[in-house]
Amino acid sequence: MSRRGEPPPAGTSPKIRVEDLRKSFNGKVVLDGIDFSVAEGESLVIVGPSGTGKSVLLKHLIGLIRPDSGRLSIDGQDFWSFSETERTAVRKRFGMSFQEGALFDSMSVFDNVAFPLRRSGRPPAEVRQRVRECLDMVHLPNVEAKRPSELSGGMRRRVGFARAIAHEPEILLFDEPNTGLDPIMTDVIDEVILELKERLDVTIVTITHHMASARKIGDRVALLYGGKLLYQAPPDEFLRSTDPAVRQFVDGSAEGPLTVEFDRERKTAASEGA
């Protein structure tokens, strides 16, 4: 492992590496030993049923949540060995788009997208131009002066998206980027992700339960269930897989290994209730 501060030798370590990550909340195990790595310029899509801790996993990658145990390395450097100031600096290399947008509701759309640019001290003219570019990319012209509360849910999501890419980060994290969007916008967002990937060579981790998006934007697809990554493969292989859990998710079936535990929990709850 390279020492802190020094850039790692090129090509030796993956962009993001997660080793044996574990996290529980109030005694409930959410992540139970997660291992994976994402290479520079790669796009990993994590799929899985709702409530399996996909968002929790994504928040670990940018250090919003501290794991109970396990390691997170960015460019081969152990994230949690850094000081608070260093961690803040590392996070500037990330861009994250949140499920509900998480826009600053005290600011206009323009100020939201400009926020990371202004904080890093870019000159106003450059900020204005970059904000335009980013809003154009998500097909949102003429909303700059509006407040987040005046926008629809899908528009807020896209502004959050524009804010995440504004400072041209090396790593992008997308939490359900197209859930709740109409089919056209879903495709627009997928196109934007693809474009970013091709043009800027960014590393991307996306969480979704849209198999169509996963297939389109992912170099690799992984299934998260029961606190573990059950299966990782390129999209086509993932779709053809005979793994029963993957099959159930891909086919969208109510019966299978993914719902066994759910059924058991429901039965226990029912018998306790009786």
């Binding site: 803040t88 500037k92 994250m96 509701d105």
Partner: protein, 255 residues
């Protein structure tokens, strides 16, 4: 056993709260002296804590001064010590009442707003978004609010001192027929600079306490809209209690 359990749980919660308070204090101090410095945000908070609180502080201290003159006059008249009313009003206002009442009013007005604002930002993931954008939330949100409170409270208390003493003067002279010249003379006869400065020191400490309590409350909010409501209430209750608690020890220390 139930009772012991309950007591134990309460002690643990209190210790957790204290831990969070001092941890946040440390982080806030650490982040105060690192760039970038967001000067406009500091000014915005100073206006919200200081300027916008002027009407509340004005009315509170005016009526406190007035009622103080009224009460002491009635009492002191029983042993012909009416001439001391001015001194009593001046001393009790500057040393105790102006700082404490101002702190309680501002806690209710500003502390609740701080807790609600940060709490809402927490439950809507805006605080996570700040972190994700490489901006430390403690630096961006907590530092300007706490700094503004430490700076503005003393100014509000100086205003409160003046307004309260004027209120006492009004009642004594207009209502109770005291001689204006001797009243003013008496007011300042026993008043020392240290009386005023001790009140100002108290004010700054109260500013630190109520704003930090409110920020901690807001920052650690969980559980949606209901959680925000809970944080707001607790910010006012624990903030006010902490002000009164610390007031006693500060008074003991400063005099």
């Amino acid at each position: 056993m139930k009772l012991l359990e309950a007591i134990g749980r309460m002690v643990l919660r209190l210790l957790e709260e204290l831990g969070r308070f001092f941890q946040m204090l440390g982080r806030a101090i650490g982040w105060s002296f690192r760039p970038p410095y967001d000067v406009p945000e500091h000014f915005r908070q100073m206006v919200r804590v200081g300027f916008d609180s002027i009407p509340v502080v004005f009315l509170t201290t005016l009526f406190t001064g007035m009622v103080l003159a009224l009460q002491t006059f009635n009492g002191f008249a029983r042993f012909h010590a009416e001439s001391l009313v001015g001194s009593v009003v001046a001393l009790s206002l500057t040393r105790e009442l102006a700082p404490v009442l101002t702190a309680l009013m501002v806690t209710g007005r500003v502390g609740s707003a701080m807790a609600a604002e940060l709490g809402t930002m927490r439950v809507t993931e805006q605080i996570d978004a700040l972190t994700a954008l490489g901006t430390e939330p403690v630096q961006y949100l907590v530092v300007p609010r706490v700094a503004a409170s430490i700076l503005m409270m003393p100014l509000l208390v100086i205003l409160g001192d003046a307004v309260g003493m004027y209120g006492g003067f009004l009642v004594a002279v207009q209502l109770l027929g005291a001689n204006p010249v001797t009243y003013v003379e008496n007011s300042f006869q026993f008043l020392e600079v240290s009386d005023v400065t001790s009140g100002i020191i108290k004010a700054a400490v109260f500013g630190l306490i109520f704003s930090l309590v409110a920020c901690v409350r807001g920052y650690y909010t969980e559980g949606g809209a209901e959680g925000v409501g809970r944080s707001t209430t607790r910010a006012v209750v624990s903030g006010s209690l902490a002000v009164l608690f610390v007031d006693f020890f500060l008074t003991k220390l400063l005099f």
